[in-house]
């Protein structure tokens, strides 16, 4: 089972009078992989937090068909006093589940087997981010919301984690909403790329990615892939010119 999301006229204005997100309609089908791209400050994080229910919209309504949400923040957001395992197991423990087997498994999935008892300060930035991802998937959420999870990583690790994420998604068919500022990453991962423009944040294009549903790593070098990137890029530029 997976969860869909429907936004109806959802907008957010902060106390300072900054309109971070203008009233927006967006429907995300259950089981789909959707990316949000746009320049810095265009409201991607704000939109994602509203989808998660972490921020209340100023106007409009957010509908989720399920409440099992996994969230990856833009920064690792780990508890520094807890080991990698304890951080990863947090959602389980909060639900009263003391069995750490699934957390150990989740750490393995993100390539951190053997780092269970290490504290966050002794992990590299990329490893911290991976603990954060492990924590988000440990509950097998039906809706996975990720805010630039790989932005701080080198390209090699990033490609590997992209492949892993796709594999996970194909296995479980969770709904994934993925924020990134990398066009290539968005195109490689997604079925659909939603392009935002700033001031106020709004959707300026909704690009369906015309690529085979099985994305092999080698696809990053294909012409078809480059074409799709060009389409998203054009939409981004058009959005910025309009702003």
């Amino acid at each position: 089972m997976t969860a869909g999301v429907t936004l109806r006229g959802v907008g957010k204005t902060f106390a300072a009078g900054i309109e971070a997100v203008a009233p927006t309609d967006l429907t995300i089908a259950p089981g789909s992989f959707v990316s949000l791209v746009g320049p810095s400050g265009c409201g991607k994080s704000t939109l994602l937090r509203m989808i998660a229910g972490l921020a209340a919209p100023t106007i409009g309504t957010v509908e989720r068909t399920d409440d099992a949400v996994g969230f990856v923040f833009q920064s690792p957001t780990l508890m520094p006093w807890a080991t990698a395992l304890a951080n990863c197991a947090l959602p389980l423990r909060l639900a009263g589940n003391a069995d750490d087997a699934r957390a150990t498994e989740a750490l393995k999935r993100v390539g951190l087997g053997g780092f269970e008892s290490v504290y966050p300060h002794a992990l590299s930035g990329g490893m911290q981010m991976r603990v954060s991802i492990a924590r988000a998937i440990v509950t097998a959420p039906r809706l996975l919301l990720m805010d630039e999870p790989f932005a701080a990583l080198d390209e090699i690790t990033r490609f590997r984690l992209n492949d892993d994420l796709l594999a996970l998604w194909q296995q479980n068919r969770w709904t994934v909403v993925f924020v990134t500022h990398s066009i290539r990453e968005a195109v490689f991962l997604s079925e659909r790329v939603v392009v935002l423009a700033p001031r106020p944040g709004r959707i300026v294009a909704d690009v369906k990615i015309d690529l085979p549903s099985i994305r092999a790593p080698a696809m990053r070098l294909s012409h078809a892939f480059t074409d799709q990137c060009a389409r998203v890029n054009a939409a981004l530029s058009a959005g910025e010119d309009a702003a």
Partner: protein, 255 residues
């Protein structure tokens, strides 16, 4: 090498002190030399140590009481802005009031002398615990809070698993100050309360000795109290390092 420097300096001062006292033939009821103080300490050891035990008993009882009540109060204040607005000024009031001025009332209202000392030392020690813990509770990372909300954590889980651990470094910073304040509060209280006899603390004995112009004994008391203050600070420092060594910058810089 560098570690020895403060000790070498202290030793030099003591030698200088002893030399000045001896060369000028200063009478011991005006200014005893360090050797005379050492001898007074040795001669009155059982008596002074008994006094020290009484003082430290009050100090630690007050510190523990301050920790328990201080953390509880901080948690209550952090639970709602209205609570903080309403009650925090009174915590400040407690802090700025010189406890010497409250002592006479407490002495009239409370008959048990141990309780009197405890109350006064507690008043002296509690504020840094409240204010630091409160600051810590309010500084919890917003995204971590959001995460706990996302996973449906209740208030109790959020307190135990997030707020309290997150504010530990702040709390320990307050504890280090409060440890010293508890001792100072106890000593001041003993002096004002004018305790005497076998159950009196070290400050009481210091006063008695000075009334009798036994300055060497009085200074021996003083030395013991200072040493206790240092020991308490070191103890809190050690506790702090132990509790934070896995994760907090302050404890990691050292190793």
């Amino acid at each position: 090498m560098m570690r020895a420097l403060p000790f070498a300096f202290g030793l030099l001062l003591l030698i200088l002190w002893e030399a000045v006292v001896r060369l000028n033939d200063v009478p011991p009821y005006i200014m005893p030399g360090p050797l005379a103080i050492l001898i007074a300490l040795k001669d009155n050891a059982p008596d002074l140590l008994a006094g020290l035990a009484v003082t430290l008993e009050v100090t630690f009882a007050a510190l523990i009481l301050a920790v328990v009540t201080g953390v509880l109060i901080a948690v209550l204040l952090a639970s709602s802005p209205a609570a903080e607005r309403t009650f925090f000024p009174y915590a400040v009031f407690l802090q700025v009031t010189p406890i010497v001025t409250v002592a006479p009332f407490i002495i009239i209202w409370v008959s048990n002398i141990f309780a009197v000392l405890l109350i006064l030392a507690w008043m002296a020690a509690i504020f840094p615990i409240i204010s630091n813990t409160l600051l810590g509770l309010k500084s919890v990372d917003g995204n971590l809070r959001a995460l706990f909300r996302l996973y449906g954590a209740n208030r109790w889980q959020t307190l135990i698993r997030l707020s309290l651990p997150a504010c530990l470094p702040y709390f320990l910073g307050g504890l280090r100050i409060s440890g010293g304040l508890a001792l100072i509060g106890t000593v001041v209280a003993e002096m004002v309360a004018g305790t005497s006899g076998t159950r009196s603390g070290l400050a009481g004995r210091l006063l008695e000795a000075s009334y009798r112009l036994e300055l060497a004994t009085a200074m021996a008391c003083f030395a013991l109290l200072s040493a206790s203050g240092l020991a308490i600070y070191a103890l809190m420092q050690m506790l702090s390092r132990r509790l934070l060594r896995h994760w907090h910058e302050s404890a990691r810089l050292e190793n």
